[in-house]
Structures are given as structure tokens and as C-alpha cells.
Symmetry: C2
Subunit: 373 residues, 2 copies
């Protein structure tokens, strides 16, 4: 079997920023309007939110979003993303292509050198044509493409598949593209989740590593692994069967099918599972967490990451060992760990090990053990 390397990484962060303060102001204005309405019904009034609650609950201070227009409008509270004609590049493919071009530039290869695009993201814009095929067309990659999905572990699971398609020789170069437009599926009227997510897109190129062709500054993929165990604690029921079971599929009714999350259960259960995954996966390769120079963990919750690392190391671990991008980007779903990787590897030395470890809905966990060349 072939050795395998990551030859390029690309990250696209949208320019528009929404601060906690802006989000809270809009949310509270909606709450006031809603409470005035609820008052007449005798229902329990809704609670205001505030910046302190958000930072304490998640560590998020602001988030970048693909389309800010509409999100802060208390009468709408959803981005205005217009539909496009079929012959125009779709929104999600466009976002994916932006990160893909950066990954190609980083790898220093032409699009045609890639013979497989996997669009692996927590949400896909449509069932077909596959998003990956539209990305393939726009970039001009060769071969084939398909879509896959595993919640916030989508990029890591995509790496698992890409690693094995390349080391078996089935594909020459695989690009895993992860465009995450989470604001499009977020209920900005839900106090528990409206602040969590931001938008971002990543791309990672995986190719064979010939002996003697090690390029300093690049990673060899030592191994990958995935783990899943069913849980309803992060769930979205939205899908093609939704219209069949609902008499009312209007705008508001559909919000009942958006991201919902039982945060405290996710925190406890994923912390335990994530720590076990890390320790066992590393042990399989004769390593302890102490051997690993850097951890690029899923960016969902700063306290959760701190706890996973504490359980893994037996003591607290600083941000140099496990950098966070969550505070300024929010939870960018499957893109988060790849963004952490892209931004935090240039200081690593030849032979240093690093671990990508994403976790989330499913439950799912995906890991990739990397070695700096």
C-alpha cells in the first residue's frame, strides 16, 4: 500500500461578521415582540439573552456568516439567500470552490491532477446532481466525485475515506471539500442554539507520498479512524419526507425541523467518548497524548475541548497544544478542526505528530494522526 500525504489545505472564511452584541440585540427585540403577543395568551414569557451567557455557555464571541442580510432582522431572523437558476453555480458549490482553489494553490497542483472530489459536510444543499460534481465541474478536476455526510465529523470521515482510496491506489488525488453554511439551517429564534454556529468552508487534498519525496512543512497521514454511536441529542429532521407528514410546511413550521441540541447531554457524553477515542487511537499507534505536539479538535465548545484534553492528559493543557478558533468564528461544524489545522501547523518541526479530532452529531468522531515531514 502507498504512503499518503496531505498536500494542500484551503480555508474560506466569509467576510461578514456578527458579534454577540448584535445577535443579542436582534434576539431580544424579537423576544419583546413575541412576549407582547404571548402576554394575551397567558403563556410563559420568553427570556432575553446576553453576551455573558453566550460566552460562558460556548466561548463564542463572534461568527462569520456567508449572508448577514436577514439574520438580524427581528421580523425574519434567517439569512436572505436567494435561489439561483439551475445554470448558475449554486451557493454551496461556490463556497466549496473558494476553499478548494486555495487548497489547489497550497498544493501547487492543477485541478485536473485531482481525480476525486468528496463533498463531505453536515448539510448538503440538494440531493442531485451531487454538490461534489458541481464543484468538480467548476474546478475542472478529473475522474469522479460523490457527497458524504457525518455531522460535524464530516471532514474527518472524508479524510478517512480519502486516505484509504489513495493508499489502495484506487484514486490518484482526492480532495475533501467541506462547505458549511450552518446559518442556513439555524433557528435564530432559539435561545439555546442561535449563537453557536458560523459559516466556513475547507478543502484538504490527499495524495500518495513516494519514498524520498517528503516535502518539509507537509503532513504524512499515519492513520485515520472513525467511531459512531446513535444519539438524538443533536438532531435535524428536515428532509424530503418532511412535506409528507406536515399539513403546514410554511416558513415558520419548517423551523421545527432545524438544528436542535440537548447541550448538557452532548457535553457530558461527547467529552467522555472523545477522550476515549483519542487515548485508544493513539495507543494503537504506540503513542500517548503527551507524544502529540498539537491537537486540532472540533470547535464547538471551549470548555468541552478543555475537558477532553484534561481527561486525556491527566492535567490541563494550553491553547498552544490545542488551538481554538471558536471564539472568533463560532462552531463552523465539520470545517472547524480543519481551520484549526490550517492556521496552526507552520511552527511544527519535522517528526512532530498532530491529531485532527472532530466530534459531533451522530454521535460521531473522526480522527487523523498526522506526522510533520
Amino acid at each position: 500500500m502507498k504512503r499518503v500525504a496531505i498536500s494542500g489545505i484551503g480555508v474560506e472564511i466569509p467576510a461578514a461578521v456578527i458579534s454577540n452584541e448584535e445577535l443579542v440585540a436582534s434576539f431580544n427585540e424579537w423576544v419583546d415582540t413575541e412576549n407582547a403577543r404571548l402576554h394575551c395568551t397567558g403563556a410563559e414569557p420568553l427570556q432575553h439573552s446576553n453576551d455573558e451567557f453566550i460566552v460562558h455557555a460556548s466561548g463564542v464571541k463572534k461568527r462569520h456568516v456567508l449572508q448577514p442580510d436577514g439574520i438580524l432582522d427581528p421580523a425574519r431572523m434567517a439569512p436572505r439567500i436567494a435561489s439561483r437558476p439551475d445554470d448558475e453555480l449554486s451557493v454551496m458549490a461556490e463556497f466549496g470552490v473558494a476553499s478548494a482553489r486555495k487548497a489547489l494553490a497550497d498544493a501547487g497542483i492543477a485541478a485536473a491532477d485531482v481525480d476525486m472530489v468528496i463533498c463531505s459536510a453536515s448539510h448538503q444543499q440538494r440531493p442531485y446532481p451531487a454538490m461534489s460534481i458541481e464543484i468538480q465541474k467548476e474546478l475542472g478536476t478529473s475522474g469522479a466525485a460523490f457527497d458524504m455526510s457525518l455531522g460535524c465529523s464530516s471532514a474527518a470521515a472524508g479524510l478517512h475515506v480519502a486516505f484509504n482510496l489513495v493508499r489502495s491506489g484506487a484514486q490518484k488525488r482526492v480532495m475533501v471539500v467541506t462547505p458549511e453554511i450552518i446559518t442556513g439551517h439555524l433557528n435564530f429564534r432559539d435561545r439555546q442554539t442561535h449563537f453557536i454556529f458560523g459559516d466556513a468552508s475547507t478543502a484538504v487534498i490527499v495524495e500518495p507520498l513516494e519514498d524520498g519525496d517528503e516535502r518539509p512543512g507537509r503532513f504524512e497521514i499515519v492513520d485515520t479512524r472513525t467511531w459512531t454511536q446513535f444519539s438524538n441529542n443533536i438532531r435535524s429532521n428536515f428532509g424530503f419526507l418532511s412535506r409528507l407528514s406536515q399539513e403546514d410546511t410554511t416558513f415558520l413550521a419548517m423551523e421545527g425541523n432545524m438544528i436542535k441540541q440537548v447541550g448538557n447531554k452532548v457535553f457530558k457524553e461527547v467529552t467522555v467518548a472523545g477522550h476515549r477515542f483519542i487515548v485508544e487511537f493513539l495507543a494503537e499507534h504506540g503513542h500517548t497524548p503527551q507524544d502529540i505536539r498539537r491537537f486540532w479538535l472540533h470547535q464547538a465548545n471551549s470548555r468541552m475541548n478543555a475537558m477532553i484534553l484534561k481527561l486525556s492528559f491527566g492535567h490541563e493543557v494550553g491553547h498552544d497544544r490545542a488551538p481554538m478558533v471558536l471564539d472568533r468564528l463560532g462552531n463552523t461544524a465539520a470545517a472547524g478542526a480543519i481551520i484549526a489545522l490550517e492556521e496552526n501547523h507552520r511552527d511544527m518541526k519535522p517528526g512532530d505528530y498532530g491529531l485532527v479530532c472532530a466530534f459531533g452529531a451522530g454521535y460521531s468522531i473522526g480522527g487523523a494522526l498526522l506526522r510533520m515531514m
Copy 2:
């Protein structure tokens, strides 16, 4: 690298049947009502349909459907599939599990012996938890799971991934589950497409083949391959961004986001691409179509399959060489080629070659070259 075998195949066909005659009667009744309404507007009246047109256009005579209730009701023309509470097994997972249990029985293994479930289908019921993880939980398989999608090539692309995950040693046993509930995403008011599809679910188990452990009646996977090229000629725009761009997301408005197809273009373009794929993939392995005992082609259109085979062989080829299940099941999307495989391999002799070849939306093509042990 390991040699790889298919150790089990399972097919679940729902009991309920809808004939062309029943479908046409309901469609024509809706047309009459609609035309009475359109008459006042001066719009062009809609055309009736008939059995001869359907059989000539597609070869379909009847189809099995998961939930007939509602499909033939001219006031609804969509199956009544009730939503289920989150703690109940979901409709799509249940359908997948039914075929998965048959595949496990066919392989003679316990669920826990499978360490990867891939739910690969043209539509996924929801984004997360992944359908595959729910199937994993219900069956009791070990390891991990993820979802993937590539239109009607989903099962074949799933085999491509499974083959490489097993031959590289990353997974011990992979099950590719393909529950296709196409009637849930079909516009039964569209004269061009309402008759095409039926529901079915399949599962295929892929595992390492130890030298000396060849079991007669099973297939070795010689190789797999996928190909894609963007086309809008089979498209559905339905997805999580749909609600953001539409003021009216009511029941009827959402039908604008269902399966649409430019049948004559698909016929021409996929026939040419499918024939090329077959000839080139076989040539890579030193074979011509004449060497292949049996072709299990995608079941979308009997004339398309006849044309692909004629182009590949240089002459017409009978159904013993390339069996059809389309006439009695309709197009069951990615399940079709696997059903053809399951029903038509027991008469094959040791050393006989067979080719699974699926094609469809994307455009996408997926192939698996098999050798009977």
C-alpha cells in the same frame, strides 16, 4: 492489499403494488379537475396519460411502493408517510434495516461482525444523526457509519468506497445499505416522471477474502470504478436552503423542488457515457463485453439498457445476459442494479465474470467487476 469478496446481499421490496392503470386513472382524474380550473384562465389544458405511453417511454408496467396510501388520491398524489417521534426508528432506517438483516442472513454473520455501515442512497431522510448510524444502532453493528450519496449510482459508489476500505485493511466488514423511498420525492402530477419510480432497499456486505477461503456461489470483487460529469438534466433543488429563498414553502410550492428530468437528453448522453465506461473499465482488466457472463445494469429504462449493450457488444443482447427488473419494480434508483444482481446470479459458474453498472443523476456512473468463486 487484501482480496475482497461480497459475502451477502439483501433486498427488501415493499408489498404494495401500483399498476400503470391505477396510476393513469388517478392522474387523469386530477388532470380533468385541473383542466376544469385552467379552462377559466385560458391556459393550455393538460394532457391525459395512458399505459401505452408509459410502457413505450420506460418499460415500466407496475411498481412497488412503501406507502400506497395517498398516492392515488387525486386530491393529494403523494404518499401519506407520518412523521415519527425521535425515539422511534425512522422510516428510511427501518427500510434499510429490512434489507440489511437479509444481507446478514445471506452472509451468515452476526451484526457485530460488521464494523462499518454506509447508508448510500439518492436521498437521505435527514442530515443528522446520519441514517447509517441509526441503522448501525438498530442492527447492533460495531465500529462506525456514515452517509453518502451519488444519485442512482449511490450503491455502486458505496461499493467503490467499501471495496477500498476493506482491501486497505481499514475496516473488517463494510455494509452498504441503500434504502430508496423515491415515491416520497416524486411529483405524481408530472406526466413525464410520475410513473418512473418505485421503492426498494438493498444491502451488500463486503469483506476480506483470504486465499483458500473462496466460497462457491460468492463473488470476488475484482475492481470498482466511478465516473461523474455535471449535468442538470436530472435535478432536485430541494434542501435546507430552499426555505430561505421562497416566500411560499407550502405543500404545492415545494413540488417545484422535486425530481425533474429531461428524459430525452438523459437517454442520449447517459447511453453514450455508459457504453464508454463499460468498454474502458473492462479493457483496463483485459476484458471485452463478450467475456462478461452477466451485466446488472441500472434499472431506469429498458430501451436505454438495450442501447448501451448494443453499443458495447456491437449487436443486440438478450435479457439472460442483462436481466431487467424494471418492468415489475419501476426505477428503484440506486437499488435497481443490486436487485438485478441479487435475483440473477445463482446460475453462474465458477470463474464467470459479472459487471454491476449503475448510472444516473450527476451524471454519475459506478461499476464493480465481479468474479464468481
